[in-house]
């Protein structure tokens, strides 16, 4: 791949400014006309600990992190623990160089900071360089930064060096710096950028081939993460209330919303715990405001009981669930897709909710909007399920994707005029829960509306909301609530929320859900290029399950491999539950080491599976079809 794309990895310790430097790097390349995609890796630590971000850039659209990487900027871990002899964490200072070498592709470029990193401390460094044809450019980035500004500006020196080596125009970096930095910092940074660039150009004989690709966009692009687009989708649907409690990685959506809402005359509440957070969202929604809350696995577990209340009370709400690895605290900063079953079934009684799992940054905007339309249109809780990968990855999207009308419609609510003619019970209680409601959706009134008062209760209730344990009432209300999901299914079918990949007709199928979609799409393309007959589907509708569409897909292929980031094959399990007769066609490719799939892993996993062999690599797992 190295001839037509750049995968640049910047590595350091937590606190070394990796995130902001890489974000600017990605933006610079996007402005230069390229398609970009980022992948972050960081430990659950505030200072120190090996962290990196990759920026993949190409002239054509990029939808995944790619395989390995081809240019390393190793800064060194400025906050490393001092290694005692035999400390199990080794010498952390050199990890930004040492730990990244395994994944560096052949012919790759290395820039490292000699101010902190000593290659003598890395076993077999020279040998490995030779064997892999790596091109190494040692530079004292700290010293340069110190001489021309301050030591913390070393990242700028590293970017200047990279730009020189790869042929990236400095103008894009300069513009970005000028937009963000105050004068006193801007000046030395610009100087460092140019100084390093010119120095590297003069002092080194370039031995590598790698250059930045050339490309151009035919319309304006914006660089956004899944967390950004989930928040923006909510805002464009008129969501003006959020309540939450911080937890990685959901905190990103919570933060974006908390900064945006006051600007828009909305309300954000950081509260005592996640039970309160979900309950606040219900309270605000009940009082007539579009509201949301959310969390990650553990915090979402605390929301179970309010979630069940929302189902019974038919109080609309959108909850987002940002998955990270479990069980328990797991790997708090790493992605997994292990909470699917949790969000589908948690809480009392039969599930009566919608669960959507967007696959890309652009889809996350789309489905965040759909989540609100469904919640308020059907008076039902909707869960938007994503993960640390989708939440944190940056991708360019055409700005026009967001050029749409806002939709503040409160959905299935009454106005006071409508209430005048609406059925009421004895004593004047509004029939909020009508047996004969169309599609099961009985509009709600809002406190303060004249003639609208009714009782909400988590107990089974009659049309006016009063507690009612009569068996016929129970069956009628239960069936009405469950019937809402049929309407939701039709609504989603009209909007084709699943993503199809590859040819219409194929021998094999690749199935995935949520954030692995881009990676699987890339694998499908490569497999077809290599002569295999494969089509793929990225599924977003977890509940209600897209039964007809999946039936058609599974009927059309001989076998299908389900690719997901968890250890028990939860989406495959869901598919078997919904479409049991295809059980014999389904096998699994799983990954749960805290890292998302790379396309090459899906390719090799697929090839091994059709050969009936085990996957070649210990980081992924193959589970054959039942009965195989």
């Amino acid at each position: 791949m190295t001839d037509h794309e750049l995968i640049w990895r910047i590595a350091g310790g937590s606190g070394d400014g990796i995130a902001s430097t890489s974000q600017n790097f990605a933006k610079a390349l996007m402005r230069a006309g390229l398609h970009v995609f980022t992948h972050r890796h960081y430990p659950s630590r505030i200072r120190g600990g090996h962290t990196y971000t990759e920026v993949r850039a190409a002239a054509d659209p990029v939808r995944s992190r790619g395989d390995g990487f081809n240019c390393l900027l190793a800064l060194g871990d400025s906050f490393a623990r001092n290694p005692q002899e035999d400390a199990y964490y080794d010498n952390e200072e050199v990890k930004p160089l040492a730990e990244n070498l395994d994944e560096l592709n052949e012919g790759g470029v290395i820039v490292y900071d000699t101010g902190l990193l000593d290659v003598d401390e890395i076993p077999n460094f020279e040998e490995r360089v030779e064997k892999n044809d790596w091109h190494v450019y040692p530079l004292n980035l700290r010293e340069i930064a110190r001489d021309h500004g301050r030591e913390v500006m070393r990242n700028t020196a590293g970017v200047g060096a990279t730009a020189a080596l790869l042929g990236i125009d400095l103008q894009y970096f300069e513009e970005l710096m000028a937009e963000a930095m105050p004068e006193e910092i801007l000046e030395p940074n610009v100087e460092i950028l140019h100084y390093t660039h010119d120095m590297v150009t003069e002092e080194f004989d370039f031995t590598h081939d790698l250059q930045v690709p050339q490309g151009s966009h035919n319309e304006e692009q914006v660089l956004l993460s899944g967390s950004d687009t989930i928040a923006y989708g909510a805002i464009d649907e008129g969501c003006r209330f959020i309540a939450g409690y911080p937890m990685t990685p959901w905190t990103e959506v919570f933060t974006i919303m908390s900064q945006a809402l006051p600007e828009l005359g909305g309300i954000s509440e950081q509260v005592e715990d996640e039970i309160a957070a979900a309950a606040l969202a219900l309270g605000a929604s009940h009082a007539g405001v579009k509201a949301m809350s959310g969390s990650s696995g553990g915090g979402f577990a605390l929301m179970s009981e309010p979630l069940g209340l929302a189902e019974m009370a038919e109080t609309p709400v959108v909850l987002v669930e940002a998955m990270r690895t479990g069980p328990s605290t797991g790997l708090p900063t790493k992605p997994e897709q292990g909470d699917l079953e949790h969000v589908l079934y948690t809480s009392q009684g039969d599930s009566n909710r919608v669960v959507l799992a967007p696959g890309t940054v652009a889809e996350a905007y789309e489905q965040s909007r759909l989540a609100f339309q469904l919640a308020y249109g059907y008076n039902i809780p909707v869960i938007l399920l994503y993960d640390q990968k989708l939440g944190g990855e940056l991708m360019n999207v055409p700005a026009s994707h967001f050029d749409r009308d806002p939709n503040p419609d409160l959905g299935a609510v009454t106005t006071e005029e409508e209430l005048e003619d609406a059925p009421h019970g004895p004593g004047g209680k509004f029939h909020r829960y009508r047996y004969d409601a169309e599609d099961g959706v009985s509009p709600r009134s809002i406190p303060g509306q004249k003639g609208g008062r009714f009782l909400v209760t988590g107990n089974e209730h009659n049309e006016a909301g009063h507690i009612d344990e009569d068996p016929t009432n129970r069956v009628t209300q239960m069936e009405r609530r469950m019937a809402k999901l049929d309407g939701v299914r039709e609504f989603l079918d009209e909007r084709s929320t699943q993503t199809h990949m590859g040819p219409d007709e194929a021998e094999y199928g690749l199935i995935t859900f949520g954030s692995q979609q881009g990676t699987v799409a890339e694998a499908v393309k490569r497999l077809n290029d290599a002569g295999h007959s494969v089509k793929g589907i990225g599924v977003s509708d977890m509940m209600p399950y897209p039964e007809a569409e999946m039936t058609a897909f599974l009927e059309s292929v001989d076998e299908a491999l389900v690719v997901e980031m968890n250890a028990s094959g939860q989406f495959r399990g869901l598919t078997q539950k919904e479409l049991g007769r295809f059980g014999g066609k389904l096998s699994s490719l799983l990954k749960y080491n805290g890292e998302p799939f790379e396309p090459a892993e899906v390719v090799s996993g697929f090839e091994a599976s059709i050969e009936g062999q085990d996957v070649p690599d210990q980081q992924t797992t193959y589970i054959p079809a039942a009965g195989d």
């Binding site: 950004d228 805002i235 003006r240 503040p408």
Partner: protein
């Protein structure tokens, strides 16, 4: 024009409007103190001048949680311990609605204790009525957070080893700006206190002693009671927090010694409500948010116009 015309409607309100035709008879046991809360609430509503369509009564789970089944207004009978977060968000969404939360001692001081502390801290402009019967009523008489030390029940066969929660002091230290205790056996005082609590601009906590003759037979019927605001033996100023703390501690202790001290313990009319605090820092709109969704002329912002530039 408001989309909520019940709010601020200029008319006389009759307490009978608050009796639902659907369930006019409460199903509490004969002699239950919960009847006293219901009656006092109905009586205080006309005083406060609110009609059923502008009141939201949020309850938890317990015998006490049934309050809104027998009270005609907008009601939200929620889940055990969570009435406060639901109620306070409704108040933020539409501050013009009269919001009342209510529940039992288990509901509010046990499972929902965290919310109690934080809602008081934030000083939301709402009323919180805790039916304190010193027992879990609905689940048939288990020891509750306010049961006295040594209290025996089926789940505490050797008697509770725990000192009870001190709800008035808890409310005070947490930041409630109105703290009172009344008793079902004292309807006049109860009505007065609930009226004041609703009129108070801030978090008003009312610990309402409600005898449970079914499960707490040994318990006092909360008579005789003493009104500490109207008794020469008790000289204190409810506007003074130090005085209030002293008086609250004494009331909590003496309850378990057979003396029922009730009244207004603390009234702070200076402390801004949470809504005012949030508006002062620009984190809450001046107009009720709920109105915006019914306002056809409101220009809804788009992220495309407001936020996209920073991503270019």
């Amino acid at each position: 024009m408001s989309a909520f015309s019940a709010i601020g409607e200029d008319r006389e309100v009759d307490r009978e409007e608050f009796t639902p035709t659907l369930e006019p008879q409460a199903t509490w046991c004969p002699g239950c103190g919960d009847f006293g809360v219901l009656k006092a609430l109905k009586q205080s509503m006309p005083e406060v001048g609110r009609n059923p369509d502008e009141v939201l009564l949020v309850t938890g789970i317990g015998c006490s949680g049934k309050l809104n089944s027998y009270f005609e207004s907008y009601g939200y009978h929620s889940i055990h311990g969570r009435s406060l977060p639901i109620a306070r968000a409704a108040k933020l969404a539409n501050p013009d609605v009269e919001v009342i939360a209510a529940g039992g001692d288990g509901d509010g001081y046990g499972i929902g204790g965290n919310h109690f502390m934080h809602t008081a801290r934030e000083n939301h402009d709402m009323t919180y009525i805790v039916f304190n019967n010193e027992i879990f009523g609905l689940t048939k008489g288990q020891t509750s957070p306010t049961s006295p030390k040594g209290h025996k029940s089926k789940t505490q066969p050797h008697g509770s080893a725990k000192d009870p929660v001190r709800p008035l002091s808890l409310a005070l230290t947490s930041g409630a700006s109105y703290v009172a205790r009344t008793a079902a056996v004292n309807p006049n005082q109860a009505k007065k206190i609930l009226t004041e609590a609703m009129q108070h601009d801030g978090f008003a906590h009312v610990d309402f002693l409600t005898q449970c003759p079914t499960w707490n037979k040994d318990a006092r019927q909360y008579v005789p009671y003493i009104d500490v605001n109207d008794n020469d033996d008790y000289d204190f100023d409810p506007a003074d927090k130090g005085d209030a703390e002293r008086m609250a501690t004494e009331a909590e202790r003496s309850l378990y010694e057979g003396e029922v001290l009730t009244g207004r313990f603390y009234v702070d009319s200076e402390r801004p409500s949470y809504q005012e605090e949030k508006q002062a820092i620009g984190e809450m709109p001046e107009e009720p948010l709920a109105e915006r969704y019914f306002d056809d002329d409101y220009e809804w912002e788009r992220t495309h116009d407001v936020f996209l530039d920073r991503h270019k």
